[in-house]
């Protein structure tokens, strides 16, 4: 019997068992019950459809709008508060450019040449307080025209937006696993050990997957598999270490343990759906 058949039988067993459970119940005579129902239906007036007053609908809309404004305001405030240095620099550079043009226009050409240096250095130091000294000096030299300022701004944006190690990290629950499985919800299980596992359900086109994540850093994969067995109450069989991955069988599921960013995780898929290679593909870093 292959794994596909095994999984199929499980469903069929449940189906058959339910059918037997329902068929095995002997109800009392239908006639007697129908007469009672008929009598009660005749005596009970059909409940009228509840109508919602119009003002309640508008009150609801008004409340929703207020909440939207409140949270929208808070959101905008937070965005403004934590705006990146790059955007601050853009704004400051733009301001300085306008100011500089006005001032240069007021001066004659000879004075404007001598006035250039202090103005530029002011722009460079004020708008880039976090930049290294060397970089600041470099920008002081280049920010002499409007075009030069744009280039400097681009440099600053690139530095600020360069992906850090944290941004490269796989999120706790990536939005997708592979291309077909989408995060559905986290499942909260009663803790079995001190450091419980976290489990999330991913919906796929035909079947769902489970992604299990350890709360401990760099947890031993073998211990992790044992913990999965305890937490999900699945019997663990057939543990195999191959190509840096740990494969196992848990109940009717194929499992694969992998580590990313020091966090040990496992993907569990109904054994009939995905083979080992497909599991490895799903374990590739995603977000």
């Amino acid at each position: 019997m292959n794994e596909n058949d095994k999984n199929q039988i499980d469903d069929n067993l449940i189906r058959r068992a339910l059918q037997l459970e329902i068929e095995s119940v002997e109800p009392p005579a239908a006639d007697k019950m129908w007469r009672t129902i008929e009598a009660r239906l005749d005596s009970t007036p059909v409940p009228l459809k509840k109508t919602v007053p119009v003002w309640i609908r508008y009150a609801g809309l008004a409340a929703a709008a207020c909440l939207l404004l409140l949270f929208g305001g808070i959101g905008l405030f937070r965005v403004a508060q934590f705006a990146s240095p790059a955007s601050e620099y853009d704004a400051a550079a733009e301001f300085m450019a306008v100011d500089e043009e006005e001032r240069l226009a007021a001066l004659d050409p000879a004075e404007s040449e001598t006035a250039e240096e202090p103005l530029d250095s002011a722009a460079g130091t004020e708008t880039k307080p976090d930049a290294p000294a060397e970089q600041q000096n470099k920008e002081t030299e280049t920010v002499t025209t409007a075009e030069g300022e744009e280039e400097s701004a681009e440099d600053q944006i690139t530095v600020a937006a360069s992906p850090s190690a944290e941004e490269n990290a796989m999120p706790l629950w990536p939005e997708t696993l592979g291309e077909d499985y989408f995060f559905s919800e986290e499942i909260f299980l009663p803790p079995v050990e001190e450091e419980p596992l976290r489990v999330a359900l991913y919906s796929g086109p035909e079947h769902d997957l489970l992604l299990v994540s350890s709360e401990a850093v760099a947890e031993d994969p073998f211990e992790f598999v044992e913990k999965i067995g305890l937490q999900l109450q699945f019997p663990i069989n057939d543990i195999q270490y191959k190509d840096n991955y740990l494969f196992f069988l848990a109940g009717g599921y194929n499992g694969l343990v992998f580590q990313h960013d020091g966090i040990t995780r496992a993907i569990l898929a109904p054994s009939s759906t995905l083979n080992k290679e497909q599991l490895i593909d799903l374990a590739a870093p995603s977000r």
Binding site: L18, I22, M33
Partner: protein, 177 residues
């Protein structure tokens, strides 16, 4: 009964149509409630209430062909509420006799299968009303996750979670045996 026939009967919603619907779904509705309550008297009351509620609220049923599943949801909700009111859960009393099992266990495989089937039945009886409800809707009524979610008025994620836990319980009982 054909889906179109069910839809027509629901549209008519006269005494005769209701009677036909009652006769078609009486047995299974009674069984669903009984498997939660395990008490014939309470089950009779709940079955009556379920049909009355269903007939009085037929206009709320969006997909007329899902009448059976909808009725099962009403009956199981009423049964669950009854249990909550009574503050007791009876899972083991008045268990029905096993029927429909194969008598020709002439091979070891068949005997093993019959045993497995019996264990799953036992496990089904131990499911909580919520879990039993989703299992019935998925495996007896063959509904999809979204359809179950709509009938139960919960999110598809909740349905999946309940199904997962129900299967987990079934697997647990099988494993213990």
């Amino acid at each position: 009964m054909e889906p179109q026939q069910i839809a027509k009967l629901i549209e008519f919603n006269d005494n005769e149509s209701r009677r036909v619907l009652f006769e078609a779904y009486y047995r299974r509705t009674f069984a669903v409630a009984f498997n939660i309550l395990r008490n014939r008297e309470s089950t009779e009351d709940i079955t009556q209430d379920a049909f009355i509620k269903a007939f009085q609220n037929l206009h709320q049923l969006k997909d007329k062909t899902k009448f059976g599943a909808w009725l099962a949801v009403i009956a199981s909700n009423l049964a669950r509420n009854h249990l909550k009111r009574e503050k007791k859960v009876i899972y083991t009393a008045e268990l029905p006799e096993v029927k429909g099992q194969t008598d020709n266990n002439d091979t070891e495989a068949e005997a093993l299968r019959a045993l497995e089937l019996e264990m799953v039945r036992k496990a089904v009886r131990e499911l909580s009303p919520d879990h039993y409800q989703v299992i019935v809707l998925q495996f007896f009524d063959d509904l999809k996750i979204d359809e179950i979610a709509e009938l139960l008025k919960v999110s598809p994620g909740t349905v999946k979670s309940r199904l997962f836990r129900a299967r987990q319980k079934l697997a647990e009982v099988l494993e213990l045996e």
